[in-house]
């Protein structure tokens, strides 16, 4: 069943055309790798899915609904979450505030005044979520800016998973992590898949992409240039599709070593 379907997505910034009509579809519970050189338009494409950018033309359907006109908050409510490369955390706020940002549960103060944030409930659920991810944080009442990179990433992941998403987009989730942390992110992706949650993984680490994805889409010059089934492709083919000619053998050999 198709969960997300993009057709003919175009996006330009002033005179710079970034996306020239991208088609992409993701099925429920499918893990799709999105690869391409720097400047190929990967992050821009993802931001048109989350609604941070509005596509100039084309159509985006999610779960059978046209979502092109919806803002990022509405798209999150439908179940589209993204873990940004820069994590997009509010670093002076604590763990629960970040996880629930924009979706804080409320209660009545003294049973009278509505609209007060239920911080106790937020803290409880945040602690539960962090525990489910098997992570350890010094204290959930600390501002997240005082945490290490891996701990901050845990908060960003917890934020993406707390509200039962249907699609999680991860933009270079392993770029800044230690070896053991990389493995736990890859395990997490497999777990999401087993729970029926679709994942789009953007990564330069092709070994990671080849090991967890079902399909690999290569973005080149603002177009979906290739759509490869992971089980029937290999490093050489992926690299040659990314580079699009030139000294493919050398580049592939380098990636293999890496």
């Amino acid at each position: 069943m198709t969960l997300l379907s993009l057709r003919g997505i175009r996006k330009s910034f002033g005179a710079v055309d970034v996306l020239h009509g991208v088609d992409l579809s993701v099925a429920a519970g499918e893990v799709v790798g999105l690869v391409g050189d720097n400047g190929a338009g990967k992050s821009t494409l993802m931001k048109t899915i989350t609604g941070i950018y509005r596509a100039d033309s084309g159509s985006i359907e999610f779960d059978g609904k046209d979502i092109l006109a919806l803002d990022p908050g509405q798209r999150r409510q439908l179940g589209i979450e993204m873990i940004y490369q820069d994590l997009s955390l509010a670093k002076q706020q604590d763990v629960a505030s970040n996880i629930f940002l924009g979706r804080e549960p409320t209660k009545r103060l003294f049973g009278l005044f509505p609209g007060f944030v239920d911080k106790g409930e937020m803290d409880r659920q945040a602690a539960k979520m962090i525990e489910r991810l098997g992570a350890h944080l010094p204290s959930i009442n600390r501002s997240v800016g005082s945490f290490s990179g891996g701990q901050q990433q845990t908060v960003a992941i917890a934020r993406a998973l707390t509200f039962n998403p249907k699609l999680v987009i991860m933009d270079e989730p392993t770029a800044a992590l230690a070896v053991r942390e990389v493995q736990s992110v890859l395990d997490l992706i497999r777990r999401l898949k087993s729970e029926g949650i679709a994942v789009i993984l953007i990564s330069h680490r092709l070994n990671d992409v080849l090991s967890v994805t079902d399909r690999i889409v290569v973005l080149r010059h603002g177009r979906a240039d290739a759509d490869l089934v992971t089980a029937r492709t290999n490093m050489n083919e992926v690299v040659s599709r990314i580079v699009g000619g030139g000294d493919i053998a050398a580049a592939a050999a380098h990636e293999q070593r890496g």
């Binding site: 509405q74 997009s88 670093k91 002076q92 706020q93 103060l109 007060f116 911080k119």
Partner: protein, 330 residues
């Protein structure tokens, strides 16, 4: 970078707890107590109920402006037009009451509405025209002041109706009305900033606009509300001032933004947004009030008071940024 294995000392832990639970910086409370003690020792007139009410009365106008400054700075913005908008609002209210002869209620509304409109224009320019807040509100500082002078033809408007004067000079239960209005405003503002979604989104916005946007918060819309709110509060401050001095003075509030912003920063508001509390700002406003009151009691010329406020602002930002660098990895 701080090492994770070192245990923070007792003082550091108390500091952290006060920030996390009470939303105040402990240092500001210590400064307030030290300053009060010093003034009490230096002046026999300082420690008395009437002087205490005097300080609160003198702080009420600045305090309301400081609340506005706290919201705006906490959201990562800046409002330099607070003092001018306050002056404009006072003149607008006096004009409605005296020159037009309308009822006091309408004059009250005119004050707050004039402020809100100025703030709304600030917000529109910041979010739609992409002019930096520093420039927009600096421009509004000139615009509002000029408009106040035009409306009043450069002279204070006297002869306010009793209803307005009561707001400034009435004393139910012996407590000055401006103090009552100021304290109520502060309580509501504290609840809004610390405990509502609006307040949390305000701080998140000041912390990281990208994170707020990604979380689905309507960033520009939120900023427009905050600038409008800031203007409306400046309007309220204008009303309090006008009612207290019984005149719509077009020069009211000159340099007040300096004191208001200083109070907010002393109270622990991060100059670059993301951290702010009204409770802290109130302590900051009281520090400014005690400082001015004490220096007056000690017969220090007001020129030196102005210098003291400027110096305190720089010192407060220095201490705050020093703390931030020490605590954070950012």
């Amino acid at each position: 970078m701080a090492s994770e294995t070192t245990q923070p000392g007792f003082w550091a832990r108390v500091q952290r707890a006060s920030v996390e639970r009470l939303h105040i910086r402990l240092e500001s409370l210590v400064v307030l107590l030290a300053l009060s003690t010093a003034m009490a020792l230096l002046s026999p007139y300082f420690l008395s109920l009437s002087n205490f009410l005097n300080i609160l009365l003198a702080t009420s106008t600045i305090g309301v402006l400081a609340i506005a400054a706290t919201f705006v700075i906490g959201s990562g913005g800046l409002d330099l037009s607070l003092g001018s908008v306050m002056g404009l609002a006072g003149v607008a209210g006096a004009f409605v009451a005296v020159n037009l002869g309308w009822p006091s209620v309408l004059a009250v509304i005119a004050c707050i509405l004039a402020g809100a409109i100025a703030g709304y224009i600030n917000g529109q320019l910041v979010t739609r025209a992409f002019v930096p807040a520093f420039i927009v509100t600096l421009g509004m500082l000139g615009l509002a002041r000029g408009l106040a002078l035009v409306i009043s033809q450069g002279r204070a408007i006297y002869g306010l109706p009793l209803g307005i004067v009561y707001i400034g000079q009435g004393r139910p239960f012996g407590i000055p009305m401006p103090v009552i209005i100021f304290v109520l405003t502060a309580i509501v503002a504290h609840a809004v900033l610390a405990y509502t979604r609006f307040g949390r989104h305000t701080l998140a916005l000041g912390d990281s606009e990208g994170a707020a946007r990604a979380a689905g918060i309507r960033v520009e819309h939120h900023r427009r509300i905050i600038y409008t709110l800031s203007g409306a509060l400046a309007g309220l401050a204008g009303l309090l001032f006008t009612a207290r001095v019984n005149a719509g003075d077009p020069t009211a509030g000159i340099n007040y933004e300096l004191t208001a912003i200083t109070a907010a920063i002393i109270g622990g508001t991060n100059l670059f947004g993301g951290r702010a509390s009204i409770l802290g700002t109130m302590i900051g406003a009281l520090i400014m009030g005690v400082l001015q009151n004490g220096l007056t009691l000690l017969a220090v010329q007001s020129y030196y008071q102005q210098m003291a406020i400027g110096a305190v602002l720089i010192l407060a930002v220095f201490i705050d940024q020093y703390q931030v660098r020490k605590e954070s990895r950012v």
